[in-house]
């Protein structure tokens, strides 16, 4: 059983307020090592330099959107295995299908509670201790 406290998670979102709220939810779940990035490029820097257990990325970002980031991660030789959860808005049904095709492990609809987030994470890496 993976321990929440040992997880290294990267949050990607161009809105600082949303990043912080997601951080709060993660901390509620017990995650301690949280990286943040505000666009796809800095996210890729982190993903290729840091060992990560999970990437949680918003879709709606300028320059490189969440799908673009997902594809970049999946195409990268060392980062490609990192589990990826895409954050979508209410109306983004078709997006979820595309995300699945691009290799996303899961999706979560914004706004989400810490419980929902935990559920989504456990669906990917197993029950958290």
């Amino acid at each position: 059983m993976p321990s929440a406290a040992a997880l290294k998670v990267l949050i990607v979102d161009d809105q600082n307020s949303v990043r912080q709220m997601t951080r709060i939810s993660l901390e509620e779940i017990g995650v301690r090592h949280i990286h943040e990035a505000e666009n796809g490029n800095t996210a890729m820097d982190t993903a290729t330099l840091q060992p990560l257990d999970l990437i949680i990325s918003d879709f709606n970002m300028p320059e490189m959107d969440g799908l673009g980031l997902l594809r970049a991660v999946r195409g990268h030789p060392t980062a490609r295995r990192v589990p990826f959860i895409l954050v979508t808005g209410r109306g983004d049904r078709e997006l979820v299908v595309k995300a699945a095709q691009a290799g996303a492990n899961n999706y979560v609809v914004k706004p989400f509670t810490a419980d929902i987030l935990r559920q989504k994470i456990e669906q990917v890496i197993g029950k958290l201790s």
């Binding site: 059983m1 161009d14 809105q15 600082n16 307020s17 949303v18 912080q20 709220m21 709060i24 505000e38 666009n39 890729m44 820097d45 290729t48 330099l49 060992p51 918003d58 709606n60 970002m61 300028p62 320059e63 490189m64 673009g68 594809r71 970049a72 999946r74 195409g75 990268h76 030789p77 060392t78 980062a79 490609r80 295995r81 589990p83 808005g89 209410r90 109306g91 049904r93 979820v96 299908v97 699945a100 095709q101 691009a102 290799g103 996303a104 492990n105 899961n106 999706y107 609809v109 914004k110 706004p111 989400f112 929902i116 559920q119 989504k120 669906q123 990917v124 890496i125 197993g126």
Partner: protein, 710 residues
């Protein structure tokens, strides 16, 4: 960690930026410009507002934003055309969104029908089947009916079954030099389970040939662990470049890789269209063609108003404090210069050089600090489009607002004071200047009137202009009104310019059209006073039937200025360099004396009226036969006059300190400063002086046709 309230504040600040993007993007689209990127950026802005609003619980905001966003989505996917009417509706939607955000921010209850009309309009655009109606419901945790199966990593593996891996770990010789070490890695490995390792010493040289910085050892062994292969590999992640690693699973459940559509796998391997990682990537064992740095859809970024990623929020008080300190530094350094000036040659030589350098750096420091306080004037301009739209709608006139020079940087202190005067001037233009569409057509003009707002750096000042192509000032009506209000005597003859300037007189107001638009009693005199209070100037030009131009000239900053230090009798004063045109020491022959005035100066064919500063400031009597220095200054309306002083002491940067709080406003005095010698010098307001000169010397001066020297 930030509190919820702080995060909400952050969200509202993000909303402000989003609204700005919306306004400029929609306006661009309306004007016929705007690329795919523009509509995408506009969509994203609303989407961001909606997302954040959902997270922070502003449901009313979410509902409206959702409809707004759906229309924009239809537009960006080509399902809906960007007609003028549609974009106008979107602009109104932006206004409603602005209001909703403001109310949410202030914690005010939102009236149920606020923006209802606009919302209905948007919903009509979407039609009966377009767009989803789920805007008002809470977000589903999952989309209904979607066949999405979350992809487990380590799918199928029972976490508690031990596996055995055989590991061969061979650090490369340079590993230590690259900052990696085998021992911590082995310790980490041991944490994962049972480790049985044997060291491989075959590469170890005799002691005499041993280089301490090189790695010679390797290890082989077995690790029994419940960890997955990924987790074991991760232990070696940082040293991936510096070692050879072989890992084979000997027993236990296999780990499945995340399921990828086979097409994607092939695509990821070969396609150069995937964004490549930066060069830190360790080389692949089988070198695949390295994807080039081409990005799939190279962003043709529409230039934003200001680059968002490279700015930082700093509290205003912090910057003001720095500005103050730099001001003190400038003063102290001037004093230092004075002291050095008084030293004997041998010491002062080298010292003077150093002082020179210091003053150069101080000047640059001052410039940098002042530029920190500078903001693009667009911050004030951005309120105007909405104002114009609302006024045009209220008055039934068609008006177009053109803005130029939004990026012109202006000191923060001035930006704050500019909003109200500008608002009032534009209100005036639309209310009184621009005619109704019918009247305009009848006059042979375009049905739509234009108000052009521009800002520019000119001659050491910021010049803001409001130009309209309306009817101009009705000078007969103005004169009549002014006479009625006793602002000018009935038999005084005034030329057209003078009549037009009467609208600045206190007590003047265009009575018959006081509507709630133009405001109650806020006349142009208040506007002018506001501008003058910041050391600026306002001038007006009107052409009957063609339109009106109002020009505001403002100093670049209130804090530091270039000044000319002068002496009159025993008193030292400072004149702003920006008003000085020329300094001369004229011969007696050039000065003509006229009865009842201080004389005039013959300057290259024109006559410039003179004023004795000592007389004006009451610091001494005029001595008739002495040689004087004359400073030719701009009186503010383009005409020149000459100021007679005793001595020119030099040109320097002065830190402007306001005296108003302690002493109130004194006509002719713009502030004070501390000179290098530690003494206080008053900074004179030249424009005011010229007015005082005229009034003290009598009307003779205005009979002299002083023509500006161009």
């Amino acid at each position: 960690m930030a509190s919820l309230d702080q995060l909400k504040q952050t969200f509202f600040e993000e909303c402000s930026e989003a609204l700005q993007q919306l306004e400029s993007g929609l306006t661009e689209i309306r004007e016929g410009g705007g690329s795919d990127d523009t509509i995408n950026a506009v969509f994203r802005s609303v989407h961001s507002v909606k997302g954040g609003a959902g997270i922070f619980g502003f449901e009313d905001l979410v509902g409206f934003a959702h409809v707004f966003e759906t229309v924009l989505d239809a537009m960006r996917s080509g399902k809906m055309a960007a007609s003028h009417d549609t974009v106008d509706l979107l602009l109104s939607a932006n206004d409603v969104l602005t209001d909703l955000i403001a109310m949410s921010r202030a914690g005010e209850p939102i009236p149920a029908d606020h923006g209802a009309e606009c919302r209905a309009g948007l919903e009509r655009l979407l039609g009966p089947d377009g767009g989803d109606a789920d805007g008002g419901e809470p977000a589903p945790a999952d989309f209904e009916g979607l066949d999405f199966v979350p992809v487990r990593v380590d799918a199928g593996a029972d976490d508690t079954t031990p596996r055995v891996y055989q590991i061969v770990f061979r650090p490369k010789p340079d590993m230590l030099k690259n900052g990696n070490e085998p021992l911590p890695i082995l310790r980490e490995l041991r944490k994962l389970g049972e480790l049985a390792l044997a060291a491989d010493t075959c590469a170890l040289p005799p002691l005499g040939e041993l280089e301490p910085g090189r790695a010679y050892l390797g290890w082989t062994g077995e690790l029994t662990t419940t960890a997955t292969r990924t987790q074991v590999e991760e232990v070696f992640a940082f040293a991936a470049n510096d070692c050879d690693l072989e890992m084979a699973q000997m027993s236990g459940p296999e780990q499945a890789l995340p399921v990828l559509a086979p097409a994607l796998d092939a695509e990821a391997q070969a396609a150069p269209s995937v964004v490549a990682s930066p060069s830190i990537v360790p080389p692949e064992p089988e070198p695949k063609p390295k994807p080039s740095n081409a990005e799939p859809a190279a962003p043709r970024a529409a230039p934003p108003l200001k680059a968002a990623a490279t700015t930082m929020r700093v509290e205003v008080e912090k910057i003001d404090r720095v500005v103050n300190l730099v001001g003190e530094l400038v003063i102290a350094q001037a004093m230092l210069g004075q002291v050095v000036h008084g030293l004997p040659e041998e010491t002062s030589g080298r010292l003077a050089q150093v002082i020179d350098e210091v003053s150069h750096h101080t000047r640059e420091l001052k410039d940098s600090v002042m530029s920190m306080r500078a903001q693009p004037i667009g911050a004030v301009f951005q309120r105007m489009p909405r104002l114009v739209r609302e006024l045009a709608a209220k008055t039934g006139k068609k008006v177009r607002l053109e803005m130029h020079g939004e990026n012109t940087e202006v000191d923060r202190s001035i930006i704050e004071r500019l909003g109200d005067p500008l608002t009032h001037i534009i209100r005036n233009s639309i209310d009184h200047g621009i005619e109704t569409p019918q009247a305009r057509l009848a006059a042979g003009k375009n049905e739509e009137g234009t108000v052009r707002l521009s800002a520019d750096h000119r001659g050491g000042r910021i010049v803001v202009e409001v130009v309209d192509d309306g009817a101009g000032i009705d000078s007969e009506r103005v004169l009549k009104k002014a006479r009625e209000r006793g602002l000018t005597s009935p038999d005084k003859v005034l030329n057209e310019d003078e009549i037009n300037n009467l609208i600045f007189a206190p007590g003047f107001s265009t009575a018959e059209t006081i509507s709630d638009i133009s405001g109650r009693g806020v006349g142009m005199d208040v506007v002018r006073r506001n501008i003058q209070d910041v050391g600026g100037r306002i001038t007006l030009k009107s052409e009957r039937g063609r339109g009106m131009t109002l020009q505001l000239a403002l100093p670049l900053t209130l804090a530091v200025m270039d000044g000319m230090v002068i002496k009159v009798r025993n008193e030292t004063y400072v004149l702003p360099m920006s008003v000085i045109v020329e300094c001369l020491r004229p011969s007696g022959a050039d000065i003509k004396n006229l009865m009842g005035s201080s004389g005039v100066l013959q300057l290259r064919g024109t006559l410039v009226p003179l004023v004795h500063l000592c007389e004006l400031l009451d610091v001494g009597r005029v001595a008739a036969t002495e040689e004087r220095v004359v400073i030719i200054a701009d009186a503010g309306d383009g005409s020149l006059f000459g100021v007679i002083v005793d001595e020119l002491c030099g040109h320097q940067q002065v830190v402007v300190k306001s005296m108003e709080e302690s002493y109130g406003a004194v006509a002719g005095v713009a502030g004070a400063t501390i000179l290098g010698n530690g003494r206080v010098a008053l900074i004179l307001d030249v424009e005011k002086l010229s007015e005082l000169a005229v009034s003290s010397v009598g009307t003779r001066l205005d009979k002299l046709d002083a023509v500006p020297v161009n």
